[in-house]
């Protein structure tokens, strides 16, 4: 898999994050070897309104990711606000 090289990733948004940004998918510029933590801080900078959410997790290719996981350009990345199914 190709590493990120001053490129950007697409991030899927749902629920409150979609409402706060007004978008269901956003593009986030990231440097090579960026990790989940980098993505989160970049997103919080780009969309200050996200700071009001109780917690934000990241899913990579349909699995919850740790904050130190490295992102790749072809990953399917999603932001997961607090779930409330059931």
């Amino acid at each position: 898999m190709e590493l990120l090289m001053n490129s950007s990733v697409s991030v899927l948004l749902f629920g409150v994050t979609r409402d706060l940004t007004g978008q269901s998918k956003v593009s986030v510029p990231l440097s090579e070897e960026a990790r989940v933590a980098d993505l989160l801080s970049q997103l919080n900078q780009q969309y200050p309104a996200l700071a009001g959410i109780r917690s934000l997790l990241v899913a990579v290719n349909g699995e919850y990711a740790e904050t130190d996981q490295i992102l790749h350009i072809n990953d399917e990345i999603a932001l997961i606000p607090p779930v409330s199914g059931g």
Binding site: G15, V16, A59, A78, S84
Partner: protein
């Protein structure tokens, strides 16, 4: 059987899927849209899901339940879209030989769904709306 659907949930169909000649006990849990949240009148709920991951997370929960209890059959059906008061949002059904296992597995599944599955609901009140659990 795991299903994420925009269609109304039918209990009789779910029961049919749980039939097993070895089953002595079936526990069904239904999560239903109620008309209020802490006395505030609810008009409807809007459910949204990250479909592929919601299904895979529900599958993980079902697998874990099958490791912990001797489950003969199970069904998990989660609704998405707009739901009116009285509609079924989620159905969990577990068939086992003996009743303690059915109750315990069913409760484990619904409790865990509420913790890990990427589905979100917005409560639409007569005077506003909010995404449940979103804010501190």
């Amino acid at each position: 059987m795991i299903t994420l659907t925009s269609d109304p949930i039918d209990v009789a169909t779910a029961l049919h899927h749980l039939q097993s000649s070895q089953a002595g006990a079936i526990d069904f849990f239904l999560g239903v849209v109620r008309d209020n949240t802490q006395q505030r009148p609810v008009d409807r709920l809007e459910y949204e899901a990250y479909d592929r991951m919601a299904i895979s997370e529900m599958q993980k929960i079902a697998d874990q339940a099958q490791n912990q209890w001797p489950i003969l059959r199970y069904t998990i059906i989660h609704r998405k879209g707009i739901l009116q008061v009285g509609e079924i949002a989620v159905l969990i059904g577990v068939a086992t030989a003996h009743r303690a296992d059915a109750f315990e597995a069913c409760r484990f599944i619904i409790d865990t769904i509420k913790q890990t599955v990427p589905i979100w609901k917005k409560e639409v009140f007569t005077d506003g709306q909010q995404w449940v659990n979103a804010h501190p």
